[in-house]
C-alpha cells in the first residue's frame, strides 16, 4: 500500500521542464540561446532562476541589465505565486516544455511586485506561512517555533531539502487529537476566465499582487502586453482576485468537509452541474483531486510549502 508520505515527496519533487527564451526586443550583444531548466513546482521563480539570469546577462550589454522578469504568452508571471500554481493556471493545457519569455526591460509595474533580492521572497514566504498558521492554529505553532526553525523552513525550500523542510513543517501539520482537523483550512482559489467570459479591457479593477490575467483570448481581441501599454495608454490587465475565506475542515455534524463542499460554498461556478458538461478543471499540483477528497487531508498533503492549498480553476481543454 502506498503511504501518504509518498504524496509529500511527489508534491515536493514535482518539476516543470521549462524553456527560457529572451524577449525578442531585448538588445543583445551576441545571440542568446534558450535555456532549459527543471523548475521545482513548489518554489518561486526568482528563487530558482539564478542560472537563467546569469545565462542571459552574458548576452546583454552591461548597461541594459536591470531587474529580470518573466512572461508567458503575454502574461507577466508573478514571482510571489508558486511556480506550480502559475503553470497550472496559465499553461497546464499547453505542450511541454513551458516556454517562458525573459525580460530585462519595461518592468510591468502594474502587474508585478519588485523582487530586489531573495530576502523579498523569504519575507513573502514567511508571511504566507504565518497567515496559514493563523488560520490553522491561531498562530500558536509558528509562534512557538524558534528563529532557527523558521530559518530551517526557508533554507529547506531554498535548497530544495525535503527532509530539512519537513522536519519542521510537520509540526505545522499537526492538530490536537480531540479535534478532527485544523481550525480553518488555508486555501486560495484562482480562476482563469473562460473564453465565454465577457472581457472588458481596462474596466476591471487592478490590484497588483493579487490577480492574474487572461491569456487565452482570440488573437484579435488580445491586447498588447502591459509592458507595451504605456505607449498606448491602455490598461490591459483583466484579472480576478483570488478567493480566500474562512472554511472549517469539519462540518458542525462532525462530517469532514470535502473539496467539493469547499467549492460549493465559495466558488459554486467551478462545479460541474450534475447533468452538465464538465467545463472546468480543479487543479492542485497539476492533478485533479476528486471532489470527494477530504479537505483536511488535502491541506495536510497537497499544500504548497507556504502551507496554503493553491487551487486553480481552469477551463476544461476542448481537445
Amino acid at each position: 500500500m502506498t503511504d501518504d508520505k509518498d504524496v509529500l515527496r511527489d508534491v515536493w519533487f514535482g518539476r516543470i521542464p521549462t524553456c527560457f527564451t529572451l524577449y525578442q526586443d531585448e538588445i543583445t550583444e551576441r545571440e542568446a540561446e534558450p535555456y532549459y531548466l527543471l523548475l521545482p513546482r513548489v518554489s518561486y521563480l526568482t528563487l530558482v532562476t539564478d542560472k537563467v539570469k546569469k545565462h542571459f546577462q552574458k548576452a546583454l550589454r552591461q548597461e541594459d541589465v536591470s531587474e529580470i522578469w518573466f512572461e508567458y504568452e503575454g502574461t507577466p508571471l508573478k514571482w510571489h505565486y508558486p511556480i506550480g500554481l502559475l503553470f497550472d493556471l496559465l499553461a497546464s493545457s499547453s505542450a511541454l516544455p513551458w516556454n517562458i519569455t525573459v525580460h530585462f526591460k519595461s518592468f510591468p509595474e502594474k502587474d508585478l511586485l519588485h523582487c530586489p533580492s531573495k530576502d523579498a521572497v523569504e519575507a513573502h514566504f514567511m508571511s504566507c506561512m504565518k497567515e496559514a498558521d493563523a488560520l490553522k492554529h491561531k498562530s500558536q505553532v509558528i509562534n512557538e517555533m524558534q528563529k532557527k526553525d523558521h530559518k530551517q523552513l526557508w533554507m529547506g525550500l531554498q535548497n530544495d531539502r525535503f527532509d530539512q523542510f519537513w522536519a519542521i513543517n510537520r509540526k505545522l501539520m499537526e492538530y490536537p487529537p480531540e479535534e478532527n482537523g485544523f481550525r480553518y483550512i488555508p486555501f486560495r482559489i484562482y480562476q482563469k476566465l473562460g473564453l465565454s467570459t465577457l472581457y472588458y479591457p481596462g474596466t476591471m479593477q487592478t490590484k497588483v499582487g493579487l490577480e492574474l490575467r487572461e491569456r487565452d483570448l482570440p488573437a484579435s481581441e488580445r491586447y498588447l502586453p502591459a509592458y507595451a501599454s504605456p505607449v498606448l495608454g491602455i490598461k490591459t490587465t483583466t484579472e480576478r482576485p483570488f478567493i480566500q475565506k474562512l472554511f472549517r475542515p469539519v462540518a458542525a455534524d462532525g462530517q469532514l468537509h470535502t473539496l467539493g463542499d469547499l467549492l460549493k460554498e465559495v466558488c459554486p461556478s467551478a462545479i460541474t452541474p450534475e447533468d452538465g458538461e464538465k467545463k472546468n478543471q480543479v487543479m492542485i499540483h497539476g492533478i485533479e483531486p476528486m471532489l470527494e477528497t477530504p479537505l483536511q487531508w488535502l491541506s495536510e498533503h497537497l499544500s504548497y510549502p507556504d502551507n496554503f492549498l493553491h487551487i486553480s480553476i481552469v477551463p476544461q481543454p476542448t481537445d
Binding site: M1, T2, D3, D4, K5, D6, V7, D10, V11, F13, G14, R15, I16, P17, Y36, L37, L38, L39, P40, S43, V48, T49, K51, L96, P97, Q158, N159, D160, R161, D163, Q164, W166, A167, R170, P177, E178, N180, G181, V250, A252, D253, G254, Q255, L256, H285, G286, I287, E288, P289, M290, E292, T293, P294, Q296, W297, H301, L302
Partner: protein
C-alpha cells in the same frame, strides 16, 4: 488503548454500558431485570435488582472459568487380593480429598450453584510431577500419610491416585442470581447497596474481589471467597458496624468508606493482604454539621463524597497509611452520586439534568481533576436522531466548559424549552424539569418538586412515582423496606432525599444552561419535527471496570453522526480512508504527472543543485580508551547526494585529546543499528557497525535532553535507512527482535542469510527501530506480527512504521497508536537475626546492604530507587511482593541460613537472615504501529511459519498463545487482512502452561509450568485446536521453559540455559523419541520455516567487552544435520528476544540440491 466499559443504570432500572472506545450507551444484553445499583470490576459487575436480590454479571471471555474438582482413590495392599479398596479401620476413606481427612466419593461432588456445569466426567490424572506414571496414575507409599513415589517398591503398602473433573461457570454475559444457601435465620435482609473492589489488595487467588453490601436495616455484609475461579463467592458474613449504614464504597485497593444515617462516614481500618475484611471502623465527621454525608466513593488514594445538600467534596490526604485522610475540599458542581473508578477517575450524576459527568483532568499529581464534562453520547436506540444530544450539550456549559467559548450565545428562550417539553416522551420530562428548576427557582428556595409537578400536568402524569416518593421522603424516612417501595421504583435512598436537597440548596452561581441549544450548532435537531427519546436520565454509574488514563482520548463528549474517515478505527481491517477512491486517484495522478512532466525531460538541468547538508551539535561521547568516561564532543552529520542520486551521510565526532583536536567518523551506510540506551540519568544511544558489533563496543553518544536525543536518533536513523534504501513498512519476511529495554527492531533478511555457502554474517544485518514497547514479538511470513508487553498485554502489528521517537518522515501517517506498558521494579529488604532483638535491619559489617537489589551488591532504598529510565513514571507505591519463588511467610519474608543462599517461605531454627521483596509499578507511554488485542493477557504466542512457496492464502493463519494465567489458547480468524483475528478458542489443560509453538505443518508443542513438554495431536486447518495432549517428559533433571518448532525441527530450552533438539521425529511418530543436547548459554530460541535456528545467547565475549543477550545464528543447519555446528554472533548485548519465523527467503537452489533436501532429510510434511 485497551477498551473497557463504564456501567450505568438509568432511572428506569435499565443497565447500560459505555465503552471507552465507543460513542454510544449499549443496553445490557439481559434486559429482563431492573436494577437499582451496579458496581463493576473489570471482569464482572455486581448489582442489586429491584427484587433486592444480588445478581452477578460475569463478562464473557474466550477463556472459560473452570474449577478443578479433585478426589483421591486410596488403596492398601493385602496379601490376598493385592491392592484393593479394603483399608484398615484406622485408615482414611477409600475416596477422599488430598489430605485423606474428608470423605469424597465421586458422585458426592456436586455443582455449587445452577450457574455451573460439568465439563466432562471424572478421569484419572496420569501426570505426576511432570512425569507420566504410565500405571493408571497410581502413586505408591509405605503408609498413609506419606510421600508418594511413581515407582512401586517392595515396601509399598498403600497407593493412591488422583481423579479430576472440571466444572465450568456457564452464566456469562447474563445476570446470575447469587444463591443464598445460608441458614434462613442468618440470611441477610434485603440489600440496599453494594460495592466491589479490593482487587489490588492481593492477587491470590487469581481475580480475588472484595464484595461489600449494605442491607436495608443498615447492616454491612462481606462476601467470602470471591475470586476468578469462584465468581459467586461462598457466603455472606456480617461485619459489625457502630451505626446503621446506608451506603458503602470499596476502592480498588484497601480503602473502604461507608456512610451512616447520621451523616458521618465510616472508614475501615486494618485492611491488608491477610485480612481483606479489615479489623475496625473509624468515624470521619462530615464537612459541615448541618449537612451530613449522603454518599461516598473511594478510589486507590482518593475519596469523594456528596453531602445532603448535593455538594461534592474531595477528601484530602487519603492513602493506605491514613485511610481517613485529613480534610474536606468542596468541589464545583452538584451531584446525586459520584463514583471513583480505575486510576482514580471520577464520574458523577448531576442532580440538575441527571446526565453522567466525567471528571476531566484527573492525574496522579492532580487527583481532584479540573472540570466536569458531560458524557453526551446517545444510546443505541437513539442513534438515528442526530439532534438528540443537543439538549445534553447544553448541560455542558453548566460547569463552564470550553464549549461555551463560541461567543454566539443568545439568551435561552423559554418557549423553545417548553415546546420541546410538550413534544417529548413522558420519560424525557425530567431533565427539563430540573433545567427549569435551576432557571426559574433561583433564590426561591421553598418550591419543591410537587409544585413544579402541578404546574405541568404532563409531568404529574408522567412521573407519578417520582412525585409520590418525594413527599414521602422529605421526612427522615430511613427504613425503607421493599414493602413500602413500589416495585417500579428501583432507586431508593439517594433519590428519596432529592426534594430536601433541592430546597436547602441556594442555587447560586448557575450559569444559564440552555444557552447552547440556541447556538445553532445542531440545526438538525432544531428542524426535526419530533425529537424522539431525549437524553437518558441516569440513577447510578460505576467506573470500577472502566480504565481511563490521563492521556486517553475519549469520544464521549462530542456528537458523532455518520462515520468520518478520520475516526480511528479500532479494528484492524483496512480503514475506508486508505482504500477510498479519492486517495487512489491522487496517487495515480501524481504518478502520471511525474511521468508527463519529467519523463522526457530528465536531461534538463535542475534549477537547485543539491548541496551538502550538515547538522551539527554538541553531544557527549563515551570515550574508547581508559579511563572510560563521558567527554564533550562536537558532532556533525554531513549528508550528500551521489551522482546516482543516492544519499549518503558521514557522522563526524570531534573530540579533544591532550589539547589536540581529533575526530572519528562513521559512514552511516555501515551502521547496522542505532539503539537508544536510556537509563536513570542519561539520554544516550549506541551506534553499531559490524566491526563495533564484533568488538562488543558501540559508539555511545549522549544528548542533553530527551528531545535532542530523539532528534539525533531520528535523523541518523533516517539517514541510515536512506543510504540502505530501506523505508516504509517492513516486508512480511522481516526478522523482529526486542531488546531488554523493550525496544523493537526489525531487519530485512537478505537471501544470503540462510544460504548454504557464503552466507551473510549476522553482524552485518541492518536493524531499524519500530516504535512501541514489547517483551515478546512473533511474526509469520504473511505479515502477521504479534507482540506481548511487559504487562502481558497482547498487541498486533498494524502495518505502520515509526512511532516512538520517530515522528514525521520516519513514521507512517496512519496506523500509529498510543501504546503503554507497565512493569515492576523490585528491591529487597534484608535483615539478620540477633539473639537480643530478633530480626533487625542491622546486619554484620560483611553483610549486604539492608536495602538492596536482588544480588545484594547494589544498595537500593525505597526513596533512592528511580524508575528504570526517564521514560518511565511511577504508578504505584512500594508494596510487598508475595509471589517470589520459594514462597514467603504472611509478611512476605523469606528465610535463609545466610546471605546469599536459597530462600524459603518459613522460619526454621537454622535461619539467621531473612529478606523480603518490595515491588513498585512504573509505566511508560509511547506510540507505535500496534493495537491491543483485548482482553486476555498473554505470556507467550506463536504464529504458524509458512514456507515461501507454500500457498497458504485462503485459509486462516494458525496462532497459538498461552495466557498469563497459563491457559492455552488458539486464535481464530487470523488472516492478512485481519491480523488480530476474531476470537480465542480455549484449549483445556490439566495444569498451567508456559510456552507454546506451532510448526509449519501444524505440529503444536507446548511447555507446562512444571517443566514438561506436551505435543498436541491432530491440529489441522479444519481442527484448529487439535484433539488431545501427549505428555513428553523433559530432559533428565531439567525443567523446560520454552519450545520452538520450525518445519521439522523442534527445539526446547530449559531453565539452566541448555538448548535441546528433539530427535527421532517422524511423520508417524511426531512426538519424537529423545532430547539431544545442542548447546548451553542460551536464553531464547527461535526456529524458522527453513528450520533455521536463531538464539539469544546469554554471554558472548568480544574484543572490548562482554555482552549479555546477543543474537546468534546456528551455522551449518542442513536437512541431514538439523542441529548444525557452531554459532555466528550478531547484534548484542542487551537483546532479549528474536523471531525469525517469518523468514522463508532463500537463495534459489538448483534442482539437485532441491532433490537432496527433499529426498533424504527427515521429511515431515
Amino acid at each position: 488503548m485497551p477498551t473497557s466499559v463504564l456501567w450505568a443504570v438509568d432511572l428506569f432500572g435499565r443497565v447500560y454500558t459505555l465503552s471507552t472506545a465507543g460513542q454510544c450507551w449499549e443496553l445490557c444484553k439481559d434486559v429482563q431485570m431492573e436494577f437499582k445499583r451496579v458496581s463493576a470490576a473489570t471482569q464482572c459487575c455486581w448489582g442489586i435488582a429491584c427484587d433486592n436480590q444480588v445478581y452477578l454479571y460475569v463478562c464473557s471471555s474466550d477463556v472459560p472459568i473452570r474449577h478443578r474438582e479433585e478426589a483421591y482413590e486410596n488403596q492398601r495392599w493385602n496379601p490376598m487380593g493385592g491392592f484393593c479398596e479394603k483399608l484398615l479401620p484406622s485408615d482414611r476413606w477409600s475416596w477422599s480429598d488430598v489430605s485423606g481427612l474428608q470423605h469424597r466419593p465421586l458422585d458426592g461432588v456436586a455443582l455449587p450453584s445452577p450457574h455451573w456445569e460439568w465439563e466432562s466426567d471424572w478421569y484419572v490424572d496420569e501426570n505426576f510431577g511432570g512425569e507420566p506414571t504410565e500405571k493408571g496414575g497410581w502413586t505408591y507409599a509405605m503408609d498413609f500419610p506419606a510421600t508418594y513415589t511413581r515407582d512401586k517398591k517392595w515396601n509399598s503398602c498403600v497407593r493412591r491416585r488422583k481423579w479430576i473433573r472440571y466444572r465450568r461457570y456457564k452464566s456469562r454475559d447474563t445476570w446470575a442470581k447469587i444463591p443464598s444457601k445460608d441458614d434462613p435465620k442468618e440470611l441477610p435482609d434485603p440489600f440496599n447497596d453494594l460495592s466491589v473492589g479490593g482487587w489490588e489488595i492481593t492477587e491470590e487467588p487469581v481475580g480475588r474481589l472484595s464484595v461489600w453490601a449494605v442491607s436495608l436495616q443498615g447492616k454491612v455484609w462481606y462476601r467470602e471467597d470471591v475470586s476468578h475461579p469462584n465468581p459467586e463467592g461462598s457466603s455472606w458474613s456480617l461485619v459489625d458496624t457502630p451505626g446503621e449504614v446506608v451506603q458503602i464504597s470499596c476502592g480498588p485497593h484497601d480503602l473502604i468508606w461507608a456512610t451512616l444515617w447520621e451523616g458521618q462516614a465510616l472508614v475501615r481500618e486494618g485492611i491488608c493482604r491477610n485480612n481483606p475484611k479489615g479489623s475496625s471502623w473509624s468515624i470521619v465527621e462530615p464537612p459541615g454539621s448541618e449537612n451530613g454525608i449522603m454518599h461516598v466513593s473511594a478510589g486507590v488514594s482518593v475519596v469523594w463524597a456528596i453531602t445532603k445538600d448535593r455538594k461534592v467534596w474531595f477528601r484530602r490526604g487519603v492513602n493506605s497509611h491514613n485511610p481517613c485522610g485529613t480534610s474536606w475540599i468542596e468541589m464545583v458542581g452538584e451531584m446525586t452520586m459520584v463514583n471513583v473508578g480505575l486510576n482514580d477517575q471520577v464520574w458523577g450524576i448531576s442532580c440538575e439534568d441527571r446526565a453522567v459527568y466525567f471528571r476531566q483532568g484527573v492525574t496522579p499529581s492532580e487527583l481532584s481533576g479540573k472540570t466536569w464534562k458531560p458524557i453526551i453520547v446517545g444510546r443505541e436506540s437513539d442513534r438515528s436522531h442526530s439532534g438528540s444530544s443537543s439538549s445534553l450539550l447544553s448541560a455542558g456549559c453548566f460547569f463552564g466548559d470550553e464549549v461555551r467559548g463560541s461567543g454566539t450565545e443568545s439568551a435561552p428562550s423559554d418557549t423553545d424549552a417548553s415546546s420541546e417539553v410538550e413534544r417529548q416522551d413522558p420519560e424525557q420530562v425530567l431533565p427539563r424539569e430540573s433545567v427549569d428548576n435551576s432557571r426559574s427557582l433561583k433564590g426561591s428556595l421553598s418550591k419543591g418538586p410537587e409544585t413544579r409537578g402541578s404546574t405541568e400536568d404532563t409531568l404529574e402524569n408522567a412521573c407519578p412515582a417520582d412525585s409520590k416518593k418525594a413527599p414521602e421522603a422529605s421526612g427522615v424516612d430511613e427504613c425503607h423496606g421493599p414493602a413500602s417501595t413500589p416495585a417500579e421504583l428501583p432507586w431508593t435512598n439517594i433519590d428519596l432525599k432529592e426534594p430536601k436537597r433541592v430546597s436547602s440548596q441556594p442555587s447560586a452561581g448557575f450559569p444559564e444552561t440552555t444557552g447552547l441549544s440556541s447556538l445553532g450548532l445542531f440545526p438538525l435537531g432544531m428542524e426535526e419535527p419530533y425529537v424522539a427519546d431525549d437524553h437518558p436520565l441516569w440513577a447510578w454509574v460505576s467506573g470500577g471496570g472502566c480504565a481511563v488514563e490521563a492521556c486517553s482520548v475519549l469520544k464521549w463528549f462530542t456528537v458523532q453522526s455518520g462515520l468520518s474517515p478520520s475516526v480511528q478505527s479500532l479494528s484492524l481491517s483496512i480503514t475506508p480512508a486508505q482504500t477510498a477512491a479519492w486517495r487512489k486517484q491522487i496517487f495515480q495522478q501524481l504518478t502520471e504527472r511525474t511521468k508527463r512532466e519529467l519523463e522526457s525531460f530528465r536531461h534538463y538541468e535542475q534549477a537547485v543543485e543539491q548541496s551538502v547538508w550538515v547538522k551539527t551539535g554538541s553531544l557527549q561521547w563515551w570515550c574508547d580508551w581508559k579511563p572510560h568516561k563521558w567527554v564533550d564532543v562536537r558532532v556533525a552529520l554531513e549528508q550528500f547526494t551521489g551522482h546516482d542520486g543516492a544519499r549518503d551521510s558521514i557522522l563526524f565526532i570531534y573530540y579533544m585529546i591532550h589539547e589536540e583536536k581529533k575526530y572519528l567518523h562513521v559512514f552511516l551506510n555501515e551502521v547496522t543499528v542505532l539503539v537508544p540506551v536510556l537509563n536513570e540519568a542519561k539520554h544516550s544511544f549506541a551506534l553499531y557497525t559490524p566491526e563495533r558489533t564484533r568488538q562488543r563496543w558501540p559508539v555511545r553518544l549522549a544528548a542533553a535532553t530527551e528531545q535532542d536525543m530523539n532528534d539525533w536518533l531520528a535523523l541518523l536513523s533516517l539517514s541510515c535507512c536512506e543510504s540502505r534504501k530501506v523505508h516504509g513498512r517492513p516486508s512480511p519476511q522481516a526478522i523482529w527482535s526486542v531488546t531488554c529495554k523493550g525496544d523493537i527492531f526489525v531487519s530485512e533478511p537478505s537471501p544470503d542469510l540462510e544460504a548454504r555457502e557464503h552466507l551473510l554474517p549476522c553482524d552485518q544485518m541492518f536493524w531499524r527501530q519500530m516504535g512501541g514497547h514489547l517483551r515478546i514479538i512473533e511474526a509469520n511470513s504473511r505479515g502477521v506480527v504479534w507482540g506481548i508487553g511487559y504487562d502481558h498485554t497482547a498487541w498486533v502489528y498494524t502495518g505502520g512504521y515509526g512511532g516512538g521517537c520517530f515522528q514525521g518522515l520516519a513514521s507512517s501517517t496512519s496506523n500509529i497508536y498510543t501504546q503503554s506498558d507497565v512493569k515492576s521494579v523490585y528491591i529487597y529488604e534484608n535483615q539478620r537475626w540477633n539473639p537480643v532483638t530478633g530480626y533487625t535491619s542491622r546486619g554484620l559489617p560483611t553483610d549486604r546492604y539492608m536495602w538492596s537489589d536482588a544480588t545484594g551488591l547494589q544498595e537500593c532504598t525505597k526513596a533512592g530507587t528511580k524508575p528504570p529510565s526517564l521514560q518511565w513514571t511511577w504508578v504505584s507505591d512500594w508494596y510487598v511482593d508475595f509471589s517470589v519463588p520459594g514462597g514467603t511467610d504472611q509478611e512476605g519474608w523469606q528465610y535463609a541460613s545466610d546471605f546469599p543462599a536459597s530462600y524459603h517461605g518459613y522460619k526454621t531454627m537454622k535461619d539467621f537472615v531473612r529478606r523480603r521483596c518490595w515491588a513498585r509499578k512504573c509505566k511508560l507511554v509511547t506510540s507505535g504501529p500496534w493495537l491491543e488485542v483485548a482482553p486476555i493477557a498473554l505470556s507467550d504466542v506463536s504464529i504458524i511459519p509458512e514456507s515461501a512457496d507454500a500457498d497458504g492464502r485462503g485459509h486462516h493463519i494458525a496462532l497459538w498463545a498461552v495466557s498469563d494465567k497459563g491457559d492455552v489458547l488458539c486464535r481464530l480468524g487470523v488472516s492478512e487482512l485481519n491480523p488480530a483475528g476474531s476470537s480465542w478458542l480455549h484449549v483445556g489443560t490439566d495444569q498451567p502452561f508456559a510456552s507454546v509453538s506451532i510448526g509449519t505443518c501444524y505440529q503444536v508443542w507446548a511447555v507446562a509450568r512444571d517443566g514438561s513438554a506436551f505435543y498436541r495431536g491432530s491440529v489441522s486447518p479444519s481442527q484448529p485446536a487439535g484433539d488431545c495432549w501427549y505428555h513428553i517428559p523433559s530432559p533428565p533433571k531439567q525443567k523446560l521453559t520454552q519450545v520452538s518448532v520450525g518445519q521439522t525441527s523442534v527445539y526446547a530450552l530449559d531453565e539452566n540455559g541448555n538448548l535441546w533438539y528433539r530427535a527421532g521425529i517422524t511423520p508417524s511418530y511426531p512426538q519424537g523419541s529423545s532430547w539431544e543436547h545442542v548447546s548451553n548459554n542460551v536464553r531464547k530460541v527461535s526456529v524458522g520455516p527453513l528450520d533455521q535456528v536463531w538464539v539469544i545467547a546469554n554471554k558472548v565475549q568480544g574484543s572490548h567487552g562482554l555482552s549479555r543477550g546477543t543474537v546468534c545464528h546456528r551455522m551449518g543447519v542442513q536437512p541431514r544435520e538439523p542441529k548444525g555446528q557452531g554459532w555466528d554472533y550478531g547484534i548484542g548485548g542487551g537483546w532479549d528476544h528474536i523471531s525469525v519465523r517469518a523468514n522463508a527467503t532463500m537463495v534459489p537452489r538448483n534442482v539437485s540440491r532441491e532433490q537432496e533436501a527433499h529426498g533424504q532429510g527427515p521429511v515431515y510434511c
